[in-house]
């Protein structure tokens, strides 16, 4: 994770296009300015960043399924539950499953585990044409970095 750059996903463990599932790894840094404020003397991952982590796993799932043809943007979060605190240095397993492929949107069920449940939520993402060509290239580079091979991507 590079919290200050909002890069939450480090590696894709498994992407199964047939079932619409993705499993990713996210390594919480040992130090970050985020932990200086959240909280002094008791550093834990902010819940909103755990939601963002689930949203990014969901986004990579959608990018994998659509072959980087359109960009998912986080639009909604329901039923979010945080079941335990996450400390610096934690290794997280992030899972997302496609619950619905709608017209211009997708819904996923996502969760994070670390030797047991950490958090889970139902997420909605708008799926739109890429608004800028450089974003396509950035995402193409990102999926390569984390080891995701999108459907139809033979490169």
């Amino acid at each position: 994770m590079r919290l200050e750059y909002f890069q939450m996903i480090d590696r894709i463990v498994d992407f199964d296009a047939a079932t619409g599932r993705i499993h990713a790894k996210a390594f919480v840094p040992e130090t970050s300015p985020v932990f200086e404020g959240h909280f002094p003397g008791y550093p834990i991952m902010p819940g909103v960043l755990l939601i963002e982590t689930m949203a990014q796993a969901s986004g990579f799932l959608i990018l994998g399924l659509n072959g980087l043809s359109r960009m998912p943007f986080f639009a909604g979060c329901k039923k979010a539950k945080f079941r335990r605190f996450i400390e610096p240095g934690a290794e997280l397993d992030v899972y997302a499953t496609l619950a619905h492929d709608g017209s211009g949107f997708a819904v996923t069920e996502a969760k994070i585990e670390q030797n047991g449940p950490v958090c889970d939520a139902e997420l909605t993402l708008r799926v739109m044409d890429f608004p800028a060509p450089e974003l396509v290239e950035t995402m193409r580079e990102r999926v390569r970095q984390i080891g995701l091979t999108p459907v139809g991507d033979m490169a």
Binding site: G76, H100, G102, S103, G104, V107, T124, R126
Partner: protein, 93 residues
């Protein structure tokens, strides 16, 4: 068996905070009920699941934005229900 309108109205009432009795076939989803685009995604998600269809929301929005269809064509509830019936019929054909 519930009519398409009853299902749609129930979904809208459950998804938004609009009292069920205020929702009629003549209601305009945007102008009368004040449903915004994000709430409408939730409604479409629920309707897609209930009817086993994929409401072509993007296409409808593009048609409205391009002036090829009126807003009422898709967002007046009786018209929305008619389009849902068409989509269900096509699915079952």
């Amino acid at each position: 068996m519930s009519s398409t309108f009853d299902v749609v109205a129930d979904v809208i009432a459950q998804t938004s905070e609009i009292p069920r009795e205020k929702i009629t076939p003549e209601s305009h989803a945007i102008d009368d009920l004040g449903i915004d685009s994000l709430d409408f995604l939730d409604i479409v998600f629920a309707l897609d699941k209930k009817f086993g269809i994929k409401i072509p929301l993007e296409q409808w929005t593009q048609e409205v934005n391009a002036g090829k269809a009126s807003v009422e064509e898709y967002f007046l509830l009786k018209n929305l229900c008619a389009h849902i019936d068409d989509l269900v019929a096509k699915k079952n054909a």
